[in-house]
């Protein structure tokens, strides 16, 4: 098969993997070609508006598993292909030299066995790192059930590792992916976190653990061992090996995971609670959400043609940001009645409307954590406010220059005691004012032409 045909098939099979971030590691380590920068770097944007920064492909899409939701499942009739490790390494270098990409995102279907597949992936990474001296960014997807020794070796060659959680509950997983057991997913996650703790390089998500030491014994996950079914590195032969040299780095950009949205009947609450666990227990850098694209005809899943829940995915990402950078806890987004986020208003404003007793906040007095709770104020503008009021008081004009989104914020704050938000502080009246034209541009970015073409507006999935 021609390499171009293989690339087409294997990119097509990989496109539902979400993560494409290249941030979190600043490196100019040895090697002959390549570097990575802390801020990350996007190289292009595909027609769906998602960024392309890594060459995201599967090494193979020949799969022994039969997960109902997956296009690559054994019983699916798609075309199959595999790269040899060298082919993929050559392709990566060829693309990298032309600045098409920032690095490689390597994943694979399970060909023969998890270990067999992981050995092939490792060989590809070895060629890249050792033969070609490639020092660019590599994100490796860990196949559930891979031997810890292989995971460790892969981690030493990768910048970031991820294991797909797929679903927020064990029930969904065993329902839709009967061949993957929760232990084979949680085990590698635990191993990766523990290895990072051992190497004192665990960073954690956003500013959630700012100023806290994550690399002490308290971050070490031991309770999960019996869930995982096998020990973490401490019981393995090589854990007693000292780190060989300063240059031996294990997954410096940490680990991430992803969950599918809308394939099963999980509520937003289930998803955000599970995300919070990923952050608090495994200290992952990110949890990605992937709106399920209904292609598979299965009685277990939404019927083919059901629109991907993009708006829901967007609201979940907003809530996820609030968890990582704003000091929110997952339970704060929900009251007892509704287990889902309000699709019409962003989660922070929803929360604020339910807690109007805390507002309006005076921008010249509120502390940083309180400023961060004001809708329309972000971490950057909150810090600017705190900084500027050391010199002189902050007025409404200043807020605009600092990047505060006034059309939202104005209902929830006062400047030097003056409230600019209109006549009523009643939550329902503020809500309707927020809905009037607010957020329009932003939401439009996330609605899609596919929906517009069919004259449909967004509706929740019939689950």
């Amino acid at each position: 098969m021609e390499i171009s045909e293989k690339l087409r098939i294997l990119a097509d099979s990989a496109k539902y993997d979400v993560a494409c971030s290249t941030s979190g590691t600043d490196r100019n380590r040895g090697g002959r070609i390549g570097s990575a920068m802390m801020a990350g770097c996007c190289h292009s944007w595909s027609a769906d508006g998602r960024c392309i920064s890594l060459l995201k492909v599967l090494l193979s899409n020949k799969c022994i598993y039969d997960c109902a939701y997956c296009t690559n499942r054994r019983s699916s009739s798609i075309k199959r292909a595999s790269f040899s490790p060298k082919e993929l390494a050559d392709l990566t270098i060829g693309f990298y030299k032309r600045n098409y990409i920032e690095g490689l995102f390597i994943s694979s279907a399970v060909e023969r066995s998890p270990d067999h597949t992981s050995e092939n992936m490792l060989e590809c990474l070895r060629i890249l790192r050792q033969e070609y001296g490639f020092a660019g960014y590599i994100h490796t997807k860990i196949i559930p059930g891979t031997d810890p020794v292989l995971i460790h070796a892969i981690g030493l060659m990768s910048d970031r590792l991820s294991v797909n959680a797929e679903f927020p509950s064990k029930e969904s997983l065993s329902f839709l992916a009967p061949q993957k057991d929760p232990g084979s997913i949680l085990g590698p996650m635990q191993q990766i976190t523990n290895t990072l703790v051992e190497r004192k390089s665990l960073v954690g998500p956003g500013s959630m653990f700012k100023d806290k030491d994550l690399n002490g014994p308290s971050s070490y996950i031991t309770s999960g061992r019996h869930i995982a079914g096998y020990g973490s590195l401490e019981n393995r032969a090589f854990s007693s090996h000292p780190v060989k040299s300063k240059r031996e780095i294990f997954a410096p950009a940490g680990q991430t995971t992803q969950m599918m949205i809308g394939a099963r009947k999980e509520s937003d609450r289930d998803i955000l609670y599970a995300s919070e666990q990923m952050y608090r227990i495994f200290k992952m850098k990110r949890v990605y959400f992937s709106a399920y694209v209904a292609l598979e005809d299965s009685p277990l899943l939404p019927p083919p043609g059901t629109l991907p829940p993009l708006k829901r995915e967007h609201r979940l990402y907003q809530a996820d940001w609030l968890l990582r950078f704003y000091g929110f806890r997952a339970h704060e987004f929900f009251d007892d009645e509704d287990p889902d986020l309000d699709p019409d208003i962003d989660p922070k404003a929803t929360w604020a409307l339910r807690h109007m007793d805390l507002f309006p906040a005076e921008v010249n007095e509120a502390d940083l954590s309180r400023l961060l709770r004001i809708p329309g104020v972000g971490p950057v503008s909150a810090r600017r406010i705190v900084h500027q009021r050391k010199y002189h008081s902050v007025d409404l004009e200043d807020l605009k220059k600092m990047g505060v989104v006034l059309k939202r914020a104005i209902h929830f704050l006062t400047c030097n005691g003056k409230y600019y938000g209109g006549s009523s502080m009643d939550p329902s009246s503020i809500r309707s004012r927020l809905l009037d034209g607010h957020d329009g541009v932003q939401m439009d970015m996330f609605s899609n032409d596919f929906e517009r073409d069919r004259g449909q507006t967004y509706e929740k999935l019939p689950l």
């Binding site: 087409r8 097509d12 070609i33 030299k97 600045n99 500027q388």
Partner: protein
């Protein structure tokens, strides 16, 4: 200001050569001679009868005096900032710099924190503008592996018969600094990766550190087509020199192969059910598209 004040200190437009030192010389004159009403690049200046204008000859000693004053009385970071503002595409960027420095000489290093002041805000937003474009281009630059050959003495290009090419263009690709081919050595193919861009801001020199550290063994050219100049780099060293389009040979055949692969990849990675051209254009404005390999059929 009283009438007397205006008479004492006439204001005039200063014209300079567009260089950083030229601008610093104007600023020197602003403090030691007449106040500046405006500062303009000579070539772009529209003469008018109402305002006196003076062409300022760049004087490195005067410039150095201002350079040192900024560094010592304000800060080195602010010196870098005004340089970036000068390289930006803002209208009246010279006056933005002057107002910023006037404030800076009063307040010292604290000037960069006065976000509310219009002078600081203008400088900041010009700087953000160029910084954003630099970051964007780190991703959006596309290199093509061009058809250069090395004949043992100078780099020439293996295009059609040189006789068919207009004589002044024959093989006149600027020499690249190279340790491997220091002017003598075996003849053969060398790979030079070429990229053309048309940035709004004058920024190719800011791209040099990033790409030099990334492509440590690769020779490359980043060509600012609009300003007819280019960054020439090889093995970590680089310089900026003039370059025009007609000096560029065609890409190699194996480069065409990679271009095709990349276009194919670009098409298949998009999820059809999520198609969203507006979001795509938001992140990747169409003015960059004509130089992007993956969008060659859509420009």
């Amino acid at each position: 200001m009283t009438l007397k004040g205006i008479v004492d200190k006439p204001m005039k437009n200063y014209l300079y050569d567009g260089t950083f030192n030229g601008l610093l010389t104007c600023i020197w004159h602003h403090y030691y001679n007449d106040k500046a009403k405006g500062i303009f690049v000579c070539d772009d200046y529209q003469w008018d009868m109402l305002t006196a204008a003076e062409s300022v000859e760049t004087d490195d000693r005067k410039a150095l005096k201002v350079y040192k004053a900024v560094k010592e009385k304000i800060s080195y970071t602010d010196l870098e900032r005004i340089y970036r503002v000068l390289m930006s595409c803002r209208d009246e960027k010279e006056m933005i710099i002057l107002r910023y420095l006037e404030l800076g000489f009063k307040t010292g290093p604290a000037v960069s924190m006065l976000h509310g002041d219009p002078a600081v805000h203008a400088a900041q937003s010009a700087e953000t503008d160029i910084a954003n474009e630099i970051h964007r281009l780190k991703g959006l630059i596309r290199f093509r592996d061009l058809n250069f050959t090395y004949n043992g003495s100078d780099i020439c290009y293996a295009g059609p018969d040189p006789a068919e090419v207009p004589s002044e263009d024959t093989g006149s690709i600027p020499y690249l600094p190279s340790r491997e081919h220091p002017g003598t050595g075996a003849a053969g193919d060398i790979h030079i990766f070429y990229s053309d861009i048309e940035p709004k801001n004058d920024l190719i020199e800011f791209l040099a550190p990033h790409f030099c550290s990334r492509f440590r063994e690769q020779s490359f050219i980043i060509h600012d087509v609009r300003r007819k100049k280019a960054l020439f780099a090889s093995k970590g060293s680089w310089y900026i020199g003039p370059l025009t389009r007609d000096q560029i040979p065609s890409p190699r055949e194996d480069d065409m192969f990679f271009q095709k692969l990349w276009q194919g990849y670009f098409a298949s990675i998009a999820i059809k059910e999520r198609t969203n051209p507006r979001c795509q254009k938001n992140f990747m404005p169409m003015r960059y598209w004509k130089f992007l390999t993956e969008l060659q059929d859509q420009k």
